[in-house]
């Protein structure tokens, strides 16, 4: 079993939204970034993986086991940060330690307290008196303290300042040092992923646009900047999307090397995940 997580042909319909044929896999020892605009289906996908949503078509396997049939066994080894749900905020970090000892078999109070110290989080202060960043750090400390093999994090860095985000990213990198562990990490702050992700899965409007290694994406995809007359010479099959600016055109291409051979356009910039997301969502075909 090389894949720690496998999502196969998952479909889920709501009145005004549907996840369509979602498939991707996350190998051991890797970090996958799940990107997409708000409402694209990232959280729904995560909820399906965690069995928070039970009625869907398709198959989800974690550690080679079916996620609904082996739910308890799987969840003992999964650490979770959800976007907007956590412990009631009248509790303290100390209370969470007491509670979690009775929930996870492998709960490690020492490790938990180490994270609290590392993040400068007070033990006896009610969560409602924490700043948003402190609360997020507490959620992350809680997700890590039972030695999980898989971390599933929905927007773990949202609301954090750049310093705190960098601290969290370092913690994730430490976590992944164990080659048996993986992280699935949804975010719209794509710059975080450019530092740490091995794989990128991009969801738009309920379906997967791409799921590839980050290096492949950054190597193959590129942003061409050109004048109108240059753009008009580009064959429609040679680009994915384009955006018309006041003075130039931004064109998203999926095969940088072939494009370079075929066209004499000077400005071919490296693509960022942000550019990729914006052009894929807002660009014209």
């Amino acid at each position: 079993m090389n894949n720690i997580l496998e999502v196969k042909n998952v479909n889920k319909s709501y009145d005004n939204f549907a996840l369509k044929d979602i498939s991707f896999s996350l190998p051991k020892g890797m970090i996958m970034g799940l990107i997409g605009e708000n409402g694209a289906g990232k959280t729904t996908t995560i909820k399906i993986i965690l069995n928070l949503i039970k009625k869907y078509q398709g198959n989800v396997q974690i550690f080679g086991l079916d996620n609904s049939q082996n739910e308890k066994e799987i969840k003992e080894d999964v650490g979770v940060v959800l976007d907007d749900s956590f412990f009631p905020d009248i509790l303290t970090a100390k209370d969470i330690n007491i509670i979690m000892k009775g929930i996870y078999q492998n709960w490690d109070s020492n490790l938990y307290n180490t994270y609290l110290t590392k993040f400068n989080l007070p033990n006896n202060k009610q969560i409602k008196n924490f700043s948003k960043g402190m609360r997020k750090k507490l959620e992350i400390a809680t997700s890590l303290a039972h030695h999980p093999k898989l971390l599933i994090l929905d927007e773990p860095t949202s609301g954090l300042d750049p310093v705190a985000r960098s601290e969290i990213i370092d913690i994730f990198q430490e976590f992944i040092q164990n080659s048996e562990c993986s992280i699935l990490f949804s975010t719209h702050i794509t710059s975080d992923l450019e530092h740490i992700a091995d794989y990128i899965t991009f969801i738009n409007n309920g379906h997967i646009v791409l799921s590839e290694t980050k290096d492949e994406i950054l190597e193959q995809y590129a942003l061409v900047k050109c004048r109108k007359d240059e753009f008009e010479k580009i064959n429609k099959n040679d680009y994915l999307k384009y955006k018309k600016n006041v003075y130039d055109y931004e064109v998203l291409i999926a095969n940088k090397n072939e494009f370079k051979k075929k066209y004499d356009i000077k400005v071919i910039d490296k693509i960022t995940l942000d550019d990729l997301m914006v052009l894929m969502i807002k660009g014209e075909e």
């Binding site: 909820k47 965690l50 069995n51 928070l52 949503i53 039970k54 009625k55 739910e71 308890k72 969840k75 003992e76 999964v78 979770v80 959800l82 907007d84 749900s85 956590f86 412990f87 009631p88 905020d89 009248i90 509790l91 209370d95 007491i98 509670i99 979690m100 000892k101 009775g102 929930i103 996870y104 009610q126």
Partner: protein, 210 residues
Amino acid sequence: MLGFIKKDLLMIKSNWKFLTILFIVYIFMSFSNQMDISFILPFMSVMVMISTFSYDTLNKWDNYATALPNGRKNLVKAKYVATVFVIILITLLTTILSILISVFHHDPVNFNELLITIISSIFATLLVQFIMYPIIYKLGIEKARIAIFVLVFGLVIMGGIIINCFDLSFIGKYLNIISDYLIIIIILLTIIFYLISYYISLKIMMKKEY
């Protein structure tokens, strides 16, 4: 499951200042004969447990708990166990308080009467809670508050109509016949309601989509 029970109890503990003030007010009212001690139990117990549901909802705890091992099942189980724990605690407090009030008023303590009052109080309280919990799990605390209000209001009106329209003296006769077993019957009924309510709540939670 222990962790989930501890969570509810720690939440109640976090509210100790408010609960202590409330309890002192009740004590004062009971000593000055403004309120019967048997009212404290249902009021306090229902209020304490409903407040845990409210805090859970506010922070979407159920969502998070479902992502934990055996979360759906333990979430429900813990609420029912914590309810019994709270009832036992408040019962102990009210029993001591009742004895103290009797001593204060120089009344002889009638333990038999006290026992029946307390057990009936526990039964009535748990009955209300056991009706409430499945409704809360199904509708959420906000809608459930309205539904429970309508339900209780409806039951009171229905009770009033029945008492006014029908001759219920036969019930008194039956109560006399079973009076020796009244406590056992009440305990058995409480256990039956407990189990029925628990399984309905569990069924609702196991199917719930987040």
